[in-house]
């Protein structure tokens, strides 16, 4: 984790190809206007960190990208497919977009290996043998191949989150969404998960992370987005963002998280 920000940043390339396009998107929970006029364009290979105070709509925003939440106005286009209420489009998008949750959401009744092979077998129509090979490859990458036959309940939080990452990777997604992946972890387990995420970034994965890990943002992100009260307030390169925030609310937020 000691690599300098610029060192890692310069190695990572961003292509021109746009993979996620969000235009004038709004979302309401009943009467409550959670997301207001969101415009965001993500290119292949980008590592975007979204931060902001709780309740600012950051989780809701990334959950809209794979339609775990429905938006009411505007457009979301993922890998050329527009998200509408059409179930076929939604399922097609979800196949290409991996997601890691704050509480992992592993399937407790299936072993780690079965967690990883279920979707490849039933959604990608892989054979069982092939799916298990792929799963073991990714479990090795997240450094827990020896836990493959255990059940999620027998693993620590950090191990569970790494399984969750491996499970998403088994679907070979084009984009990975991370919804506060380290917020539910004990402090000593945060770095093992962040290490895996850094490696993933180094391999060129397009990532959108909602996180409060500012060290990770500085090191990996090519863009940091600050949200408050449902709006994107500010976005910038990480160094600029942290050293020279423009908006008052950004300054306030950064001063609050850095004090502790």
């Amino acid at each position: 984790m000691n690599e300098t920000a610029t060192g890692l940043q310069s190695k990572l390339e961003v292509s021109d190809e746009v993979i996620i396009e969000i235009n004038d998107m709004h979302k309401w929970y009943g009467e409550f206007h959670v997301l207001k006029n969101i415009n965001l364009s993500v290119q292949r290979g980008e590592r975007i960190v979204i931060c902001g105070p709780s309740g600012s709509g950051k989780s809701t925003l990334i959950r809209c990208i794979n339609r775990l939440e429905e938006h009411q106005q505007g457009k979301i286009i993922v890998d050329g497919t527009e998200l509408t209420s059409d179930l076929k489009h939604i399922e097609a998008t979800r196949r290409e977009v991996g997601m890691c949750f704050q509480h992992f959401n592993l399937f407790p009744h299936l072993s780690v290996l079965e967690n990883c092979t279920l979707a490849p077998i039933w959604v990608r129509k892989m054979s069982k043998v092939e799916a298990e090979e792929v799963a073991m490859k990714y479990l090795e990458r997240v450094k827990i191949p020896e836990q493959a036959l255990k059940y999620p309940g027998q693993l620590s939080g950090g191990q569970q989150q790494r399984v969750a990452i491996a499970r998403s990777l088994c679907m070979s997604p084009k984009v990975m969404l991370f919804d506060e992946p380290t917020s539910a972890l004990d402090p000593e387990m945060i770095s093992e998960v962040l290490d895996v995420m850094v490696e993933l970034a180094e391999e060129g994965m397009t990532m959108i992370c909602v996180t409060h890990e500012m060290g990770f943002a500085k090191k990996v992100a090519n863009r940091v987005i600050f949200m408050d009260a449902g709006e994107i307030i500010e976005e910038n390169e990480p160094l600029e963002f942290f050293d020279n925030p423009q908006n008052e609310r950004t300054k306030l937020f950064l001063s609050q998280i850095i004090q502790h």
Binding site: H103, N105, H109, L118, W122, V123, G153
Partner: protein
């Protein structure tokens, strides 16, 4: 305190627990003689057992008569099991013609033979065999019992009875109501208003009426609505009634399990691109059903005992046939033996179901209950 200091920090060994907290003595202390109240209760319970058990044992075993053919053999002063012995085949087969009773036997033996591979871990074609048992076996079983084809003598369902009828109604009820209940539970939670309204209405309607009413409706009212000449067998009508009645209860039990699954499981499945039916079959239902095994088995036990109600539409199930036998002039006065035997048989079946459910629970335990 002083003894604790003989170990240097970090070298304190694992010591055994105090002897009075483990083993038989520890168990007795912890469970029976914890304090004065518990000690008094233990002594009282022992006294009650001392008063009750000896007469019960002498009635059931020591003074009872087991061998003989007529009531004259019963002179021991205890229970007269001769009565049960001489009527046993009627208790099992009801009024099924004696010469044809091998058909009842083979129906049940066939089911047992088909079920054995389902419990073997090494058997690979469980899905096919399961489908065979669910869809083909009932047809074979029905024609084997009812006859009228392949040269088998026709036996009307009114002649069926006894324990075999109880088992037929229970098995059909349990096996039929489970999938229907599952679909109803999913339907009631559906986002489609038509589906959820229908399922909710269906469940509430069937749960809102007593089983006796359902059976009366099926045997008395239902034929009135049918066009003349069209008629279904009384037993089949009762079977359908029992199945639909139980499926409403199953649905609510299963729905309870579905409610208990955290939202994250649905989202985890959705985020991987699993369709509704796939996420239900692989993720949600396996967990939900595991939570409600006790409830489902409760429904099965309830149904098993409720089958006795078919007596009121003129079918003689196990209890019905035992009751009928106690009014036989040759054997008057042995009703207690009849009912005790009946209770014992019901208890054996229900207790086995309960034990089986506990063994499934243990088998499915994956260590995530913390």
């Amino acid at each position: 305190m002083t003894t604790d200091t003989q170990y240097a920090p970090g070298s304190y060994p694992d010591l055994p627990p105090p002897p009075s907290t483990v083993g038989v003595v520890g168990w007795l202390r912890a469970n029976l003689f914890t304090n004065t109240t518990n000690t008094l209760l233990t002594v009282l319970a022992l006294y009650i057992l001392y008063v009750i058990l000896p007469p019960v044992f002498s009635w059931v075993f020591f003074n009872a008569n087991f061998i003989g053919d007529t009531r004259e053999s019963c002179d021991g002063g205890g229970a007269c099991w001769v009565f049960i012995n001489s009527r046993l085949s009627q208790f099992i087969y009801g009024f099924y013609p004696e010469a044809e009773r091998w058909r009842v036997d083979s129906t049940f033996y066939l089911l047992i033979a088909l079920m054995i591979p389902m419990f073997m871990n090494s058997f690979r074609h469980k899905a096919w065999l399961g489908a065979f048992i669910l869809f083909i076996y009932p047809v074979i079983g029905f024609y084997l019992l009812a006859g009228g084809v392949f040269g088998l003598v026709e036996v009307e369902t009114t002649q069926w009875g006894g324990l075999s009828l109880t088992l037929i109604i229970s098995i059909v009820g349990i096996v039929g109501s489970f999938p229907i209940g599952l679909l109803l539970a999913l339907g009631r939670r559906s986002k489609m208003p038509a589906v959820s309204t229908f399922c909710t209405g269906f469940i509430e309607l069937w749960r809102g009426v007593p089983l006796i009413t359902v059976l009366f409706m099926s045997s008395v009212m239902f034929p009135l609505f049918l066009p003349e000449g069209v008629n279904f067998d009384k037993l089949i009508r009762a079977l359908v009634g029992v199945t639909l009645f139980t499926s409403a209860y199953m649905a609510e039990t299963v729905r309870g399990g579905l409610q208990a699954i955290p939202k994250g499981q649905y989202e985890g499945a959705e985020a991987l691109g699993l369709s509704y039916w796939k996420s239900m079959s692989f993720i949600i239902l396996p967990q939900a059903l595991k939570h409600v095994i006790p409830g489902i088995v409760g429904n099965c036990i309830g149904l098993f005992k409720d089958t006795t109600l078919v007596l009121i539409i003129g079918l003689f199930d196990f209890l019905g046939i035992v009751q009928a036998a106690t009014t036989d002039p040759k054997w008057l006065g042995f009703a207690v033996e009849g009912y005790v035997f009946c209770a014992f048989v019901y208890w054996v079946f229900c207790f086995s179901m309960s034990q089986y459910s506990q063994s499934i629970e243990r088998k499915l335990h994956t260590g995530h209950k913390r």
